[in-house]
Symmetry: C2
Subunit: 318 residues, 2 copies
Amino acid sequence: MLSPVQVGSEARRDRLLDEWVVIASHRQDRTFLPANDQCPLCPSTDTMLTEIPAPEYEVVVFENRFPTLPATLDGQSTAAGRCEVICFSQDHGASFADLTTDQAATVMAAWLDRSAELGGLPGVEQVYCFENRGQEIGVTLAHPHGQIYAYPYVTPRTSRMLRANAGHRQATGRNLFDDVLAAERDQACRVVLDGEQWTAFVPYAARWPYEVHVYPHRRVPDLAALSEAARAEFSVLYLDLLRRFDRLFGGPAPYIAAWHQAPVRQGRDQFALHLELFTVQRAPGRLKYLAGSESGMGAFANDVTPEAAALRLRELAC
Amino acid sequence: MLSPVQVGSEARRDRLLDEWVVIASHRQDRTFLPANDQCPLCPSTDTMLTEIPAPEYEVVVFENRFPTLPATLDGQSTAAGRCEVICFSQDHGASFADLTTDQAATVMAAWLDRSAELGGLPGVEQVYCFENRGQEIGVTLAHPHGQIYAYPYVTPRTSRMLRANAGHRQATGRNLFDDVLAAERDQACRVVLDGEQWTAFVPYAARWPYEVHVYPHRRVPDLAALSEAARAEFSVLYLDLLRRFDRLFGGPAPYIAAWHQAPVRQGRDQFALHLELFTVQRAPGRLKYLAGSESGMGAFANDVTPEAAALRLRELAC
């Protein structure tokens, strides 16, 4: 028997950093690494009712029973965050990298549809599709799945990108995302995959041991604005990239895959849709931790040079 | 036989976020959880030469053999970061919370002296004294120790605080740190320890399950500017706080303790020295991970309300 969706979280303004923080105390009791036969993301059976009331499925999206995002901002009940779960496969032991190109394209269509739907809800300022993979980064359900957050505010990192972009535009008249992508393609030493529609590269100032940014060549604000050709090529390129991540350390690398889309109402003519994929693993059995410098000061140090990371990822072709 | 200090890292500008990132590839081979009888932070013996060529010590500071901070900024060799290790105790199995008040005062004197010394070096923009405690956050040497980083740039988090403070000053004519401290003392519901010279409170928008900020009542830019009375009271209050953290979950909680000091050359008349202490543990055996929302978007969610955290920490008095 499944209990109803719980709410009650709130966003609070950290005035010293000028950022929102969500306080979500009801989540302490959320489902934590259930046994395989208790998985809430597997299809339902005659004897087990899961989150998915169907005997089989390809891609399913539903509202998270333990949502992170808040109903109120600083006590005023004007905001409505939404958290959804997106299941990529009915196969409990699969991962995104195991999907066929067609299946990956179906997931992409779901990201696109849900982004458009959630972005149209009152109070939603930004929609974020992402996947956490691996217990090393705190994943509490092993079944392959991603999440879609609809924030009632523009997130801190997106705000910073918009601010840096505005400064660059004022100084040069050009778009910063365009200039960064052009510089990476021109230098080429950090490019991992070079498609007709997309380029995947390790950024010059990567924060994580293996970090790849994937940009469409034609700048668009969000998934909905991609051309058919760009959508088609992405699935092929992304599966290739994920399979390289799986071969980095002999076993599946924990990773975070993050779709950066323009906010719903701000900076849409300047923001560049892109995906950031990174692993917290730096060597077999060794993780990159965010300790005093990163967590205390926001000052990242990366032990793997971006050029070496790109070289290694290029070599990992099937 | 100890090899000489290795260098070769560089800081690179992340243009999209307008932040420095350090690339420190030589650190992949650093000392990792050595056996107790190989500890480089224990006193030297007749048969074992450690980092500390003395048979006993109280507090020792030396340069980190595997420094994180860079010799160059974006390829220009103008910067000189420095990383030092500060050992709090010769007792391998001790922790900061085990120190006497006098010993803690000696550590504080060392923080102060090293901050002044490093802040005077050419190219140093900010000095940061901190402690990482616990393998859960990636500590690779069990012996109780902290670190002192001298950054050749103002760190991202400090920059953000200075920016928010400038905005508040422009809007209200007041100092934001003063207003935040006054509000916390006034509301009192998140105050953990209330001294004559210092107040320790869980901030209104805490990011971590148990997070305490410790401010002197008289705003000063850095450790060197503290009064004798403030220095004396801090040691007592801080040891009390650390011992409460040790009782939170039955065993020693992993924590990060971070001294926020004003940069060497910027914002000194507005910045407020304070300490931020937090644990990544949210319950026995459960850690708070930075996954997709935090690492991807900088959007934190905290599962413990700041008021509940403060209540619990108040109740943990000896």
